[in-house]
């Protein structure tokens, strides 16, 4: 019933994931500075060069250095992912906690709405939204916010309800603890673990969605070194320039994989009630 943080020995897989995630985060912070070439400069004389000493990951169809684009793109990809999650976290939790506190028909209505919303495939919803807004990375970000908020509303509402039904809240009620104090001292600290797990797992999911949207052309537009857009760009050259497609794909894969492993690890260590409620 109770959170008792326990430290489990981490496996080598988990250590690897932590190291990769750390490298990716560092790349996102310093990516542009590390890039050996300008990620946007077109040089048709150097197009479709295979990986070599000067271009570790080769060049693309317009002669741009793939490694430089990958490093610069890390920032773009991770930043857009994190902004989606940050916004959804705030909006979703506000709605969820509010809903749980108010209860009654407001709660019912909001959660029904979230249920319905949550059901719709996020990709297609975001696609519609992005199409309506006009294709751009910013549109893709808002589109994902638009389709992702119910996850957090639902989750935070569920945790808050759980916490509110705990006896320590009843004890707080008998002392007359005001609502804002309950949110800050009781709900948020106890919800933190579950939320951080969800955030970690969603980093992978949101990143995949953003790159997917960019791939079909409603996200980042082609010269932008966003990873999904880079794959879309490389499709035409896949027979004679595999590296253009392979490397951004691997970048997405390893980022998603390492964050998923970390999320899984956090779930094991932090969430003792994996089977909350039958």
């Amino acid at each position: 019933m109770l959170t008792t943080p326990r430290s489990y020995p981490k496996s080598w897989v988990e250590w690897t994931a932590i190291v990769i995630a750390a490298i990716i985060v560092l790349t996102a912070v310093f990516g542009g500075l590390l890039a050996p070439h300008d990620p946007l400069v077109i040089d048709f004389r150097a197009k479709l060069l295979p990986p070599s000493g000067t271009h570790w990951m080769g060049t693309d169809g317009a002669g741009r250095d793939v490694l430089s684009r990958l490093l610069t793109g890390a920032q773009l990809t991770l930043l857009s992912t994190l902004s989606v999650i940050a916004v959804v976290l705030v909006i979703g939790c506000t709605i969820g906690i509010f809903s749980a506190f108010v209860g009654g028909w407001v709660d019912n209505l909001l959660m029904r709405l979230a249920d319905i919303w949550l059901g719709f495939p996020p990709l297609i919803l975001a696609l519609g939204f992005a199409a309506a807004m006009g294709a751009s990375l910013q549109a893709a970000i808002w589109a994902l916010v638009f389709s992702w908020w119910p996850t957090y509303a639902r989750l935070s509402r569920m945790i808050t309800k759980d916490i509110l039904s705990a006896k320590y809240i009843a004890a707080a009620d008998t002392l007359g603890v005001p609502a804002w104090r309950k949110v800050v001292l009781y709900v948020l600290p106890n919800a933190f673990d579950v939320l951080i797990i969800q955030v970690t797992l969603d980093i992978a999911a949101v990143m995949l969605a953003i790159s997917g949207l960019s791939f079909i052309g409603v996200g980042a537009q082609i010269p932008t070194p966003e990873w999904g857009a880079m794959i879309a760009d490389g499709r035409d050259y896949v027979r004679n320039g595999w590296w253009i497609v392979i490397f951004p794909g691997l970048a997405i894969f390893f980022t998603a994989l390492s964050f998923n492993i970390i999320g899984d690890m956090l779930r094991r260590e932090l969430d003792p009630t994996s089977q909350r409620r039958a």
């Binding site: 719709f120 990709l123 297609i124 992005a130 006009g134 791939f215 595999w242």
Partner: protein, 335 residues
């Protein structure tokens, strides 16, 4: 009975929200909705015509009811790039997509249910660790990237499956009543066409199924683990039941129920995810239609796809829930 009515009421409410979302997407867009709806090359006349048609001069509530009426009649407008009623386009594009999703779903279920059950039984073993790692890896693969790689390696290089399309060149004239090639070919006794269609489906279905199977295995596993912990499993073992009997007669029927709800939801999600797969494999379908509509800035086409996918999602969930209710009515009364 009340459960069925409640469930249907919920579906109707969801449908209403779906219409609302579609309305928001097509009418409340930034800039001039009529301008966006008309497409890039439309003249002023055309825009004015569309403005009148969409009722954009009227109050928002009225616009919504006009839209609601249109949608209920199946009128999504005319696509400016196919010059056909969008409903007709969708009706054409839907069967190949559904075919793809169904095959992917079969792959998903055939893998998820047994693997989920076995990993739950051997929870914490090497085998479980390996499956968990593989499923986490599967969940991290960008579908479109996997699809490209599969196409290039398995189809183009190894020539195990056709590279693209829905049928081979020699079968291009094949036609059937339902539009579902697999079904039509069987009905006409054309096994050659059937296997050809199936071969064309394998790679896209696999690419589509991968992510969902990764999730499916984990959902099934979690659900089965919680069943294995229950006392009725202990009692069954104490009765002298073999592990096989415990697993298949006792745990599986109970653990599959919550998992099936998730698979029902996955059906709709898969249909939405066809946008990432169909175009790569050059298959007709609503996914490719949506991508085309997006690139051609045909907002009504996109919204129609959103609506149809949402609709299928609602129906799939309704069917699964009613099915589960029919199998075991009592389970729903408690929760």
């Amino acid at each position: 009975m009340t459960y069925i009515l409640q469930r249907i009421a919920f579906s109707l409410l969801s449908l209403f929200v779906l219409v609302l979302i579609s309305f928001l997407l097509s009418h409340i867009v930034p800039g001039d909705p009529a301008y966006v709806a008309a497409g890039p090359n439309a003249g002023a006349e055309k825009i004015a015509e569309i403005r009148a048609e969409m009722g954009l001069d009227k109050p928002v509530a009225t616009q919504f009811f006009i839209y609601l009426g249109d949608v209920l009649r199946g009128d999504f407008g005319t696509s400016w790039f196919t010059h056909q009623p969008i409903l007709q386009d969708i009706a054409q594009e839907l069967p190949p997509s559904l075919e793809l999703v169904l095959v992917a779903m079969v792959i998903n279920l055939v893998v998820s249910l047994p693997v989920g059950l076995l990993t739950a039984r051997f929870n914490g073993s090497r085998f479980d660790d390996l499956v968990r790692l593989v499923s986490i890896a599967g969940a991290g693969l960008p579908i479109f990237w996997t699809a490209i790689l599969l196409q290039q390696k398995v189809a183009a290089d190894w020539k195990l499956f056709p590279v693209a399309g829905r049928l081979s060149f020699e079968h291009r004239r094949f036609e059937g009543q339902t539009g579902f090639t697999l079904l039509d070919s069987l009905m006409q006794g054309r096994l050659d066409v059937f296997f050809d269609a199936l071969a064309h489906l394998m790679l896209p279905a696999f690419a589509l199924a991968l992510l969902f199977t990764a999730v499916g295995v984990r959902i099934t596993r979690t659900s089965m683990i919680s069943e294995f912990k229950k006392d009725y499993v202990t009692l069954a073992r104490a009765k002298g039941a073999s592990e096989g009997r415990v697993m298949f007669r006792h745990v599986f029927p109970n653990g599959a129920t919550p998992a099936l709800t998730v698979f029902g939801m996955q059906f709709g999600w898969m249909l939405g995810t066809t946008v990432l797969v169909e175009e790569i494999f050059g298959r007709p379908g609503i996914g490719r239609y949506a991508v085309k509509a997006v690139t051609q800035s045909d907002i009504h086409g996109v919204v129609a796809v959103v609506f149809v996918v949402g609709l299928f999602f609602l129906v799939a969930n309704l069917v699964v829930d009613l099915l589960l209710y029919a199998i075991n009515p009592r389970k729903h009364l408690e929760g």
